[in-house]
Symmetry: C2
Subunit: 273 residues, 2 copies
């Protein structure tokens, strides 16, 4: 449920905005709710804010697990700026809805971080699948979960992340069905986008990664895989959320699911070639 | 049988030669037989020589079907030189064993084209799977047909080539089994090599392309696909051989299966990025 909107986009005004314009709307309180479809074509990011004493370890965890945890930017300790993602970003106000955790429990869901921000906090922005889905759609591939207005199905797997001292857990994947030739094309396209989960981690044999019933996802909605299709599994941004929640750090801030940071970067700029 | 050695390489001296040295050996008659493993790392090519009045159409067929018919070089009409593949190439003597066809029938299998060459002949050199298999092996992937010293299994499919007036026919594919993560890697690697068949054309569902029994290939040897593997299908250079044979041109020359043109190009130079 927490991730229900994280991978969803549907009818929404604001598609023609720039990233800066979208953030201005959010900052002023005039845009509430999820950011799917906002400032179309612009990179949106998952948010994780940790105290500096855990931030180094979390960055190492991300470095070791780039497919589920592709780092788009890391802030300076105490600084709310993320200049590589947008000149004017103030991470305390530029996301519409936050979740604040203490000892692994969500204790508040504020709309700004005024009064919550601390001088030891380090901001991580991680790539999300909106960007590679944009690339797939631009190429003319069809995404059934979008066409059916469903949340992409997500599955816990037996693939383990590479752990650090506090951060560990199984890889969580999102699944999209394709006909075989389209699956090959989807692999090619997403391979060009390592900053937003990159190439799939698995194709074709759900049981081999511990997925027993393709119609019973652990998160998101069930999605049909037709007889002439194969399931394609990508590393999912729910993985780091799950890893951090499991570690129960004393203090932690995330975006509210679906309410992402909208950046100035165009998705196409994340293509590695 | 005609293609039995075309996709095979096994123990063979001469692996450390340059392309030019390998051709000199062949030209002098000191190297006989197949070229698998000769001048390791160098591009080898399939040969097709057609009269000029059909050459234009054949080139168009190749242009329309780049996956089965990746053109490495086309000679000038009447010229035995292929300067982009090797400065000293004389196609009349640099392949060890040829097959000469009249009206679709093989009428001779000479070791040179002396007395056969004509001023209206156009030489086509097409990329072959040796090059992408080299890239897969360099990356550490394992190829079962090589490990078991078998000819790669090849299958007729229901995928049609894009026809021209005289040239038409179904796509013939070669199949290699991989675990899913390795299949994804193999797609990435071969996508970088469009000049030698490029990315696979199909994965995972043999029946969807008309392959009824994966253990009964149309050419080559049967090869096990284990329960934790998926079959990956590439367009195969047997396709143009089959297309030309079916067209029964009045005159046509090919290499004898397995006796390819060895070029000066290193396989790595075919990588598109």
């Amino acid at each position: 449920m927490a991730t229900r909107m994280a991978e969803r986009r549907d009818g929404q005004t604001g598609g023609a905005l720039t990233g800066a314009e979208a953030r201005a709307l959010i900052r002023s309180g005039r845009h509430k709710g999820h950011t799917a479809g906002l400032a179309k074509g612009h990179v949106q990011g998952n948010l994780a804010i940790l105290p500096a004493d855990l931030a180094g370890e979390f960055l190492r965890f991300c470095q070791q697990n780039p497919k589920p945890c592709p780092v788009l930017a890391v802030g300076e300790p105490g600084s709310p700026a993320l200049p590589t993602l947008g000149r004017d970003i103030d991470i305390r106000r530029d996301v519409g809805h936050y979740r604040v955790f203490r000892d692994g429990q969500c204790v508040a869901e504020p709309t700004t971080l005024d009064g919550v921000w601390r001088d030891d906090l380090v901001t991580f922005v991680l790539g999300c699948s909106f960007s590679f889905e944009w690339a797939l759609l631009e190429d003319g591939l069809r995404l059934r979960h979008i066409e059916q207005n469903l949340t992409v199905p997500m599955f816990r797997t037996t693939i383990e992340t590479v752990p650090t001292k506090h951060f560990r857990g199984g890889l969580i994947t999102s699944m999209r069905p394709f006909k075989p030739a389209d699956a090959i094309r989807a692999i090619q396209i997403t391979s060009r986008f390592p900053a937003v989960h990159g190439a799939p981690v698995h194709i074709g044999l759900p049981g081999a990664i511990g997925v027993r019933d393709i119609m019973k996802p652990d998160f998101g909605d069930p999605l049909e895989v037709k007889a002439d299709e194969i399931p394609v599994f990508w590393a999912c941004g729910v993985t780091p959320q799950n890893v951090v929640a499991t570690a129960k750090p004393p203090f932690f801030i995330a975006h509210y699911p679906g309410c992402m940071l909208v950046t100035d970067l165009h998705n196409s700029k994340l293509s590695s070639f």
